[in-house]
């Protein structure tokens, strides 16, 4: 039973990882690509690790997978935040059809 649920979680994780990588190609600029890659790839990887945890139970491998879930949830958004801030500070433009840029307006003053 646990193994079946684990396989379902791993399958869902692979699907979300695929959408994240597809977003990296299809979306127009750095910030949108960061969004797709951060959200979808984080959920995909966490789902794969959780499936691995269900698969192995409380063995040495399963507990390492479970700890990695916490590390990934805490670090992946922080790295996306740092990349987005650094990109904006070094002058990467938003997509031409973007609606507004309050950050650039506030920095000029």
């Amino acid at each position: 039973m646990n193994e079946t649920i684990g396989i379902i979680f791993i399958f869902v994780g692979i699907i979300f990882d695929f959408f994240g990588c597809l977003g990296l190609i299809r979306l127009p600029d750095v910030y949108n690509r960061l969004q797709a890659s951060t959200k979808c790839v984080t959920l995909g990887t966490v789902s794969i690790l959780f499936g691995l945890f269900l698969f192995n139970g409380f063995s040495s491998m399963g507990i390492k997978a479970f700890l990695c879930i916490g590390f990934i949830i805490l670090t992946a958004p922080v790295s996306a935040h740092a990349l987005a801030g650094a990109a904006h500070r070094s002058g990467v433009k938003l997509w031409v059809k973007s609606v507004c840029d309050k950050y650039a307006e506030d920095k000029k003053e």
Binding site: F16, F19, L22, G23, R26, L27, P28, D29, Y31, N32, L34, Q35, A36, T38, K39, C40, T42, L43, F58, S59, S60, I63, K64, F66, L67, I73, L74, P77, V78, A80, H81, A84, G85, H88, L94, W95, K97, S98, V99, C100, D101, K102, Y103, A104, D106
Partner: protein, 164 residues
């Protein structure tokens, strides 16, 4: 001193998880490594030990986890739909939202929650004035108050009760 004890326990439990089949060798090595880590960076992580005492904070944290997971799943399905749509229907922009939170840890968790949920990505934090600059994939309105209502409110209410 009490913050050193808390950090020691956290580091030691993580060590025990990483070297799971517990035996005496791993425990001894873990005590030495955790003591070294706590000695070098003892006062960097745990600032206020007193917030660990109130049990209502743990209950609000337990409530925060399912809310966060549900929002995260919804956001992922929305972004996946936008990615596989043939015309990529997005309307991006950077908006400014207001927050009442002041402490470092609650601001960090709020920015992380904003990044992982709801088609938004936090770009920068202005801590003195309490503003967060958020890249939004589908801008409903560039106005600060309306954006605050849609993006921040839901998590801010819970995080305020956990950490402030």
């Amino acid at each position: 001193m009490r913050s050193w004890v808390v950090l020691f326990i956290v580091v030691f439990v993580i060590w025990l998880g990483l070297s799971w089949p517990i035996d005496i060798q791993h425990i001894l090595a873990g005590i030495i490594v955790s003591a070294l880590v706590v000695y070098f960076m003892g006062d960097m992580f745990v600032g206020r030990v007193n917030i660990l005492k109130r049990p209502s904070r743990y209950l609000w944290f337990l409530y925060y986890i399912p809310v966060f997971l549900w929002e995260w799943l919804k956001a992922n399905i929305g972004v996946s739909y936008k990615v596989i749509h043939p015309f990529v229907p997005i309307k991006p922009g950077i908006v400014k939202v207001r927050t009442k939170l002041k402490k470092d840890i609650s601001l960090t968790l709020l920015a992380n929650s904003i990044t992982l949920t709801g088609e938004t990505l936090s770009v920068d934090i202005d801590k003195e004035n309490g503003f967060i600059y958020v890249h939004w994939m589908d801008v409903a309105s560039p106005d600060t108050d309306k954006a605050t209502k849609t993006i921040v409110r839901k998590f801010e209410k819970i995080l305020e009760r956990i950490f402030e």
